[in-house]
Symmetry: D2
Subunit: 352 residues, 4 copies
C-alpha cells in the first residue's frame, strides 16, 4: 500500500509528521489532490492549544492548493492535471441554506482537518488529500493573471473570510475600520481598498502589522497612542465608520468595535469567538441601529470567484503577509513559531 | 390671537388639555395641519411615566392625520385642502445619512412631541400642528383604496415601524417569528402575512392579543404553555425562523429572540430599549451568524409609500387594533387606561 | 424487460401514446420518478406545431410531479417514497452561471422532453421518468399546507416562470401590468397580488381569461374597448406601471409592453420569442430608462422554494387555471384541444 | 445693475460670450455660485448642432464647479464660501420617482443650460450661476483627498454617468466591455477598474483614446483589426462579458453592444440616442436573457458621493481626459474644436 507524509495533531501541543496510507479509493464527487502548498491558519491554533477539543491523531490543515491527480465518479468540472485551490468549507450545494446562498451555514457543512464535529475530513497539511464535493469547493487557478500560487492559496480561507467581512456590508466610497491587523484583518483591509473604500482605518498595537496595513494604503491607529473612537470620528466628520470589521476576537475588541460604526452602520465579525455570553453595549447598538453582518459567516465558496478574480487583476496580494516558508517536515517547529506569534503567516511545502 | 386645544404633558403622569395659541406663521417648507385623528403610542409612555425625561409642559403626540389648511413658502407637493398622514420622524432629506436612504438616522432628525432633544416640535395631539419639511414627511391619503382614515393614521409610526422590521430582512416564503403581540408586534405580523410569509409565529402571554394575531393568519404560542424555541424549530424542520422580530423590549424577550433564528437568519428589534448594556448570548449569535437588521431604525419616511399602498390594496388593516375611540378632552383618562394596559390602541378626536 | 406508456411526438402534429422500455439503470445523481400528474405546457406547442424543430420520436412533457421509486448513487436529499415536483430546467449547480445564481442560464442546461438540443432528456408525460441532478431540481411537496398536488405541479414551470417575471423587478406597493392572460400571464398576475402589489392590471381580449384574472383581484383591460396605455396611466397618476410583464409573445404585444412602464420602470418578458430581429421603440426605451429584467430567464430552480411556500401559505392557487383533466391515453386529443385554444390548461393522468 | 460674462448659444452653430445681468435675487433653496471651472460636454453638441432644438439665446453649460457667494432662504447644508460641484441634473427630492431613489427620472427634473424643456435654468458657462435645490444637487469638494478641482468637476455629469453605467450592473470580479472610448466611455472604464473588475475591454477606432484606456489598465480592441465579439469571448472562456456599456450612441454600436454580454449579462447605455425606433436583435436579447440596466438613467445626484469619494481616494482620475484649457472668452473657438473632434475634453476658465 502506498504511503505519504501528513501532519498529525497527536494531542494538544503535539504535532508530528507521520507516514500514513495514501488515499486511493475515490467516492462520488471526490478528487485526489497532490498538495503543493499549505498554510497554517489561526483557526488551527484552536485544536493545537486544546481550546477546541478534537479527537487524538487528527490530520490537520485546511488552507491548501495543488494539482488534481485522480477524479472520482460524478465530478464534472475537473480533470487530472487541473491546478486548483480548495475551500476549507465544504458545503452540500442543495440544502435549504445552500439554496439561500449561505454555504457557510450548510446543514451538512464540513471543514478539513477539524475532526469528527466538522465531518471527519483529513486535513490538507499532507502530500495528498481527498476533496469531497469537488465541483463546489475547488476553483481552477486563473491563467495569465497578476497573482502567484502563494496569493491564490489564501482564497480557500482567510482571503475569502476577510473579503466577505467587508463585501457583505459595503458600498463604494465607504469608510471602513478594521480592529485587529492579523492575517484576516489585513485581508479585510486589503479588500476594502480593492473594492473602492474612501479610507480604511486599521487598529492594532503591533508596529509591523500597522506598517503592513499602511503599505495597502490604510490609515493606522495604535490604541496605546490614540483613542480609536476619536480617530474614526475625526476622519468621518464625527459620523463614525460605515463598516467596521472585528478581526481581533476578544471581548474588549468587540466592545470597541461596537463603538466605531456610524448610526445605521455595519459591524462584521470574522474573528472567532468561543465565549457563551458577553456583556455588550446594547444601548448603543440599538440606538445607533447598528447592523450585524457576516459575523461567523464562513461563506468561502461564495466568495472564491471574486477574490480569485481580484488577485488575478492585481487588486489583492495576500502573499505579502507570508513571513515564513518551511518544509512540511518541520511542521512541529512551524506550529510553535506561529503559536508564539513569531510568524505572521507560515507556508509549508509538503514535498520537503 | 387665535387659540386651540392641545394635550400637554405638564410633568410625569400629569396630562392636561389646555388652551394654547394656534400656530399662525409658517416657515419655509412648513404646512399647518388641522388634526382629525391622533393616537396614543407606546413611545408616549416613556415621557408619561418619566422614564424618558422631558422638559415640563411639552405638547405631545406623534401619530396623527388631518387636512392641510395653510402652506408655507417652498412647499411643492401640497396645497391647502389636501388630506395627509404625517411621519412621526422628520428628516432633512440631504445629509449623509438621508442620502444613504436611512432617514431615521438623519443627522438632524426630529420627532413630534418629544421635547428639545428631538427638535422641539409641538406634538400632534392638538387641534392644529405645524409640520416642517412637509414635502418629505407628509403623504396624501390614497383615494379609492380599501383603507379607512383609521388605517392610514398608523402609517406615520407603528405600521411603518412594524413593517420595516420585517421588510428589511425578508424574502417571500420565509418563516417569521414575532416576540410580543403589542401594536408594533401585530403590525409586524400583519406585514409578514402581506409580504408573502410561509408562516408567521406570534409569541405572547395575553390571550386577546394572540387571538388578534390568529385573525391575521398567524400561528400563536403562549410561552407559559409551549416552549417558543421548540415551537419554531418544530415548524421549520428544526432550522429556526428566517426572520425574528423582537417587539417586546425587555431583556428576557431579547434573549429569547436571539435563540429563534436559523443559522444565517435575521433578528430585527423595533422594540425600544433604554438599557445601557445587556448580557447577550454572543456564542450563539456568532456561531449561527445571526444578522441584526432594522433594529432601532425608525426609517418611517422610507416605508410610508409601501404601507399606504398595501393598506389601499386591502393587505394591511391596522385599524383592527383600535380598542378605544375617545374625545381629546378626555386625554388624561385615555393615557391612564393605556398606561395600565387596559387598552390596545386609543384614538383621540381633537374636535371633541 | 419492463415497459411503460409514454407520450411520443412522432413528428409535427402527430402525438402517440406508446409502449416503451421502462427506465431501470440510474446514473450518479439520478432518481426514477413514478409520474402521478403531468401537464401540457404552451412550450410543448413549439415542437407540436413544428415551429421548434425536434428529432422524430421524442418523448415529450416537462411539467410533472410524482413519487420517487428508486434512487441512484450520489443522491443526498431524497429517498424512495418521497413525493416531489421537478423543475423543467435541469442545471449543473457549479458552472460560472450557476454560481452567479442564474440556473436558467447554466452552461450545461437541460430541459425535459425537448430533444437533443436541450440535453436529450426523456419527457415526463410518461408513467416513469429519470430525473438527473435530482438534489438540485426536485423539491418535496410541502406537508400540511393549503396547496393540492395540482397546485404544486405548476411550480416546475409556469408558476415559477410567471413568479420570476414579477419577483425579479418588484417592490411591495408597486403597480404591475400584465400583457396576455394565458397561463403564464395569470401566474404573473397571481404572483403580483401575493407579493403585495398596489394594483395589478391584466390586458387581454379573451373574456374568460379576464374573468379569471379578476377573481385574483386584478383590474382588467380589453384593448378592443379601452386603450391599455391610457388605462395604466389613469391608474397611476399618469406615471405608468412600475413593472410590466409581457406574457403574450408577439411583436405587437411587445411594442405595447414597452409603452406601459413608468420612467425608470421595468419590463419582464417570460413570453417565448423566436423572431431574430424586431423593430423596437428604442427612443422611448432609452428616454424612459426602461429596465429589461428576467426576460427569457427560466431560473425555475431558484424560485421553486418561494412558490411552493406561497402555495402552501394559500397565497398562490395555480390549479384554478386547469380546464381539463384527461387520461394520458388521450394525449393526442388533449394536444389538439390545447393547440386550438379550446383549453386553458390540461392535466394528464399517466395511470389511465 | 451688475453684469457678468456668459456663454450664449444664439442659434445653431453660433456661440457668443455676452455681457448679461448678474443674478441677484435668490429664491427658496437657491445659491449663487461663482463659477471657477466649467467644461464642454458631448451633450452640449446637441443644441450646438441643432439636433436638439432649443430656443434662441440660451445660456448653456452644465458641468461646472465654484464657490458659493450667496445663499437663499431654506438652504441648510451650505454657506457662502463653500466650494462645491453641481449636478447637471436637478431633482425635486420628494416626488414618487425621487422617493424610488431615481433622481434622474424625477417628475420635475431640470438640467442646466438646455432651455425651456429642461426647466429653463441658465447654464454654468458663465461667471455666476443660480443653483436651485442646492441641498440636493451640490456637494462640497472633499478636503485633503487625492483629487484636484479638475477631477471633481466631472462628478456633476460625465464621471457620475460613466460610473452609474457600470455600478448599477456590476459585481466585483466581473469582466466589463465598453463600446466607445469618448469621455463617458473612458469614465465607465475607469470606474470598472476602480470597483474591482477582473478585466475591462474597451472598443474604439481612435488610437489615442485606446491608448488612454490602456493607461487605466484596460484591454483595447480596434474593430478594424479584431472582431470585438471574438475578443470578448476569447477573454471570458467563451461566455461573453458580465457587463457591457454602450458609450457610443449609434445604431451599429448598439447592435454590437447587444452581442457582447454573456447569457444573463447586462447592457447599460449611457450614450444618448434620439432615434425613435431601431431594428434590434431581439432573438439574442431574449434568448440570452440580457438585462438592460441604467440606460438613459442620469441619476447623477445618487452617484456624486461615491465618485467624489473614489476621486479623493485616488481611484478615479477623470482630469486625465482634459485635452484643452481655454479662457471662456474663446468659447466659440472651443465649441468648434470640440464639435470637430479635435479635442477630447475642454475646460473653460470664466475669469479670462
Amino acid at each position: 500500500m502506498a504511503t505519504m507524509q501528513a501532519v498529525v495533531l497527536k494531542k494538544a501541543y503535539e504535532i508530528a509528521v507521520e507516514e500514513v496510507p495514501k488515499p486511493s479509493e475515490l467516492g462520488s464527487g471526490e478528487v485526489l489532490l497532490k498538495v503543493e502548498q499549505t498554510a497554517i491558519c489561526g483557526t488551527d491554533l484552536g485544536p493545537y492549544s486544546g481550546k477546541l477539543e478534537l479527537e487524538d491523531d487528527v490530520r490537520i490543515g485546511h488552507e491548501f492548493l495543488g494539482t488534481i491527480t485522480d477524479v472520482g465518479p460524478g465530478v464534472n468540472l475537473f480533470d487530472a492535471g487541473d491546478r486548483v485551490v480548495v475551500s476549507c468549507v465544504v458545503n452540500c450545494g442543495h440544502c435549504y441554506l445552500c439554496r439561500k446562498n449561505q454555504p457557510g451555514k450548510c446543514m451538512g457543512v464540513m471543514i478539513f482537518g477539524l475532526g469528527l464535529t466538522f465531518g471527519n475530513l483529513d486535513g490538507g497539511q499532507a502530500e495528498y488529500v481527498i476533496v469531497p464535493n469537488a465541483d463546489l469547493c475547488c476553483r481552477k487557478l486563473p491563467e495569465g493573471g497578476a497573482g502567484t500560487d502563494e496569493d491564490y492559496l489564501f482564497v480557500g480561507d482567510i482571503m475569502a473570510t476577510g473579503y466577505e467581512s467587508v463585501r457583505a456590508a459595503f458600498e463604494p466610497g465607504d469608510t471602513v475600520a478594521v480592529v485587529g491587523a492579523g492575517p484576516v484583518g489585513l485581508c479585510a483591509a486589503m479588500s476594502a481598498v480593492a473594492l473602492g473604500a474612501r479610507q480604511v482605518v486599521v487598529i492594532d498595537r503591533v508596529a509591523e502589522r500597522l506598517k503592513e496595513a499602511e503599505s495597502y494604503g490604510a490609515i493606522t491607529v495604535n490604541p496605546d497612542e490614540t483613542d480609536p473612537v476619536d480617530a474614526v470620528l475625526d476622519l468621518t466628520d464625527w459620523r463614525g465608520a460605515d463598516v467596521v470589521v472585528d478581526a481581533a476576537g476578544h471581548s474588549s475588541a468587540l466592545n470597541l468595535a461596537f463603538r466605531l460604526p456610524r448610526a445605521g452602520g455595519s459591524l462584521s465579525v470574522p474573528a472567532v469567538y468561543v465565549d457563551e455570553t458577553l456583556d455588550l453595549p446594547w444601548g448603543e447598538i440599538w440606538l445607533k441601529g447598528i447592523r450585524l453582518v457576516a459575523s461567523g459567516a464562513m461563506n468561502i465558496p461564495r466568495y472564491m470567484d471574486e477574490t480569485l478574480a481580484l488577485i488575478a487583476a492585481g487588486k489583492l496580494n495576500p502573499a505579502r503577509m507570508i513571513s515564513h516558508r518551511m518544509p512540511m517536515s518541520q511542521a512541529a517547529e512551524a506550529y510553535r513559531l506561529f503559536y508564539e506569534r513569531q510568524a505572521t503567516k507560515i507556508i509549508l511545502d509538503p514535498t520537503r
